[in-house]
């Protein structure tokens, strides 16, 4: 067979496309690497024990981020405790109970809409509904409730994905032994979809840690050190909000970079955890 050479025009096209692909990948990777290295380089020297373990003091003119760390933990805990049952319940309804296809698409459409709404709008509605209408005032609890709505679709989706992979025979086996629907869900279905719930949790933690616009008007800016009960009832800045305030309003870039470095390390940890959980359960499923 005659081996026809590739025309010059085609060669140029192939070369151009390959070059563009390489360039794009290099840009993407370089950007990520730059962000990590730059933020860690600028932030790490300023992470001191004093910064981590004190609260800001106007008298001594020092800045500490302990209240912000605690606020972040409280808001994380409160949001997860509230969103988990709601999101998992919604997913269970969709995959175990719902029979009307129209209702299912309505719920799924609503979930997609929720995940497309920008956080600043969540912040506004959270302020109007939780802070003003329900009288929670500007408080961590109001912030947590706002985050619950934001993260509902995430938990719902990951749980649902995982419920889809629970074999129908598990359910039939349990029904055959005479168990009622609720008992089947509680003892067979939910334990088999634990991986989806964990993945959802990890993704939500990442989103909550990085959230700022939705918390600005719902949880506020205060830097007071409180226990969890008092903390939730009072206003407080999370790490991201504190970063914003220190960088934009006060020009304290060293503190801002220290917080950014902490957030970056957490982001890396969360990503790694999500990958590991995914791989772990993938393996178990393959067996």
């Amino acid at each position: 067979m005659e081996n026809r050479p590739i025309s010059n025009e085609r060669k140029r096209y192939i070369f151009l496309m390959n070059a563009l692909m390489t360039l794009a990948v290099v840009i993407t990777c370089a950007l990520t690497l730059f962000f990590i290295v730059y933020v860690l380089y600028k932030g790490f020297p300023h992470i001191t024990w004093e910064l981590l373990s004190t609260e800001p003091s106007y008298l001594a003119d020092t800045i500490g981020i302990l209240p912000d760390i605690l606020n972040t933990l409280y808001i994380l805990l409160a949001s997860l405790v509230l969103v988990l049952p709601l999101g998992v319940g919604a997913a269970v309804y969709l995959s175990e109970y719902a029979t009307n296809q129209k209702v299912v698409s309505l719920i799924e459409y609503a979930a997609e809409t929720l995940s497309g709404i920008p956080s600043i709008i969540y912040g506004l509605v959270g302020m109007l509904f939780f802070c003003e209408f329900l009288g929670m005032k500007t408080s961590l609890l109001a912030g947590a409730c706002t985050l619950v709505i934001m993260n509902l679709p995430t938990i719902m989706r990951t749980t649902q994905e995982s419920l889809k992979t629970v074999p129908q025979s598990y359910r039939e086996g349990a029904f055959g032994l005479g168990a009622g629907k609720w008992r089947v869900i509680r003892t067979v279905v939910l334990p088999s979809c634990i991986d989806g719930i964990i993945t959802g949790c990890i993704l939500s933690i990442g989103r909550i840690l990085g959230e700022s616009a939705a918390l600005l008007f719902t949880a506020g800016f205060a830097h007071a050190t409180n226990g969890i009960i008092d903390g939730l009832q009072n206003a407080g800045a999370t790490l991201t909000v504190a970063l914003y305030v220190y960088a934009k309003e006060q020009g304290e870039f060293d503190v801002a970079f220290a917080i950014a470095a902490i957030l970056m390390v957490l982001a890396v940890l969360i990503n790694t955890a999500a990958t590991l959980v995914g791989k772990h359960y993938q393996k178990r499923r393959d067996i």
Partner: protein, 290 residues
């Protein structure tokens, strides 16, 4: 005994039904609140004056509430970010979907998911300290906080969404299409761009629309680098977006000013709903194609 069990099951069914409908309730809640609190100011100012008024002077003695500068800034800013972000995202996605070996793919993919999980305030902070002074130096401006800085930050922030959605679409292209093209004598690179990409075009369109949604809704990173003055958009001037207009005045607003901010949020929400509808259209089309 049997009746009691039946009753429990019905109650539990009811509870799950309520949980299932919760997302629908949340969407309704958000819509109703935005409409109720956004309409009064539009009524008072007048829809035309509100949308097409060129001056925003909310705290002046004779206040003026025209949001055209914010509208145009949001549109230009998003368009700019898409213009910069899409080519990079698109070519990266093609490379990852078709060319990269598994090891490279897993490294680059984890880099991208890391990029996606960097909080927006961190983007803003890095932008404030690198981009803003950089733009000031390069273009010898009095201040580098500008639309251009916002566009660059947004372009980086939309990259992960664009890459991930395009990647999924490209991976779903049936292998037979590519095999047929290769068998006809096309080289791999030609096959990727002339067969795989057209076959995945709805998914790639969805990726771009998702990027538009992300860019138009971003507030915190933009507020930190765009200077925040209510000017008509210009690449090297300090500008204010729809999102940042809400964020920057909410804390101290009252009366008509506060209501006008809710109206801005309503306009933004309208845009987002529109984008969502387009996104769903493309996602559905992409699913039907394969």
């Amino acid at each position: 005994m049997k009746n009691k069990k039946h009753l429990t099951e019905t109650i539990i069914h009811g509870i799950f039904l309520i949980l299932g409908l919760l997302t629908v309730g949340c969407v309704l809640l958000i819509t109703i609140y935005l409409v109720i609190s956004g309409i009064p100011a539009i009524r008072e100012i007048g829809l035309i004056d509100f949308l097409f008024g060129k001056t925003w002077a909310s705290t002046a003695s004779e206040p003026s509430f025209g949001i055209l500068p914010f509208l145009l800034t949001s549109i230009y800013g998003t368009a700019g970010a898409i213009l910069l972000g899409v080519p990079v995202g698109f070519f990266t996605a093609v490379y990852l979907a078709k060319v990269a070996n598994p090891k490279v793919k897993s490294i680059v993919s984890s880099a991208i998911s890391l990029l996606a999980s960097i909080p927006s305030v961190v983007y803003g902070l890095v932008g404030m300290l690198i981009l803003v002074p950089g733009i000031r130096e390069v273009f010898s401006l009095p201040d580098g906080a500008s639309l251009l800085a916002a566009i660059i930050v947004l372009a980086i922030m939309v990259l992960p969404s664009i890459i991930n959605v395009s990647l999924t679409a490209l991976e779903a292209v049936p292998k037979e299409y590519e095999d047929a093209s290769l068998a006809l004598g096309a080289t791999p690179t030609e096959t990727y761009f002339r067969v795989s990409v057209p076959a995945a075009k709805s998914g790639i369109a969805a990726a771009i629309v998702l990027g538009v949604g992300r860019a138009i809704g971003e507030a915190m990173a933009v507020i930190m680098v765009s200077g925040n003055a209510p000017n008509m958009p210009s690449l090297f001037e300090s500008v204010r977006f729809l999102t940042t207009a809400v964020a920057s005045e909410m804390a101290y607003s009252s009366g008509l000013q506060r209501q006008a901010l809710f109206s801005i949020a309503l306009v933004l929400f309208f845009f987002i709903m529109l984008i969502n509808a387009v996104l769903n259209f493309f996602l559905k089309k992409s699913k039907e194609e394969h």
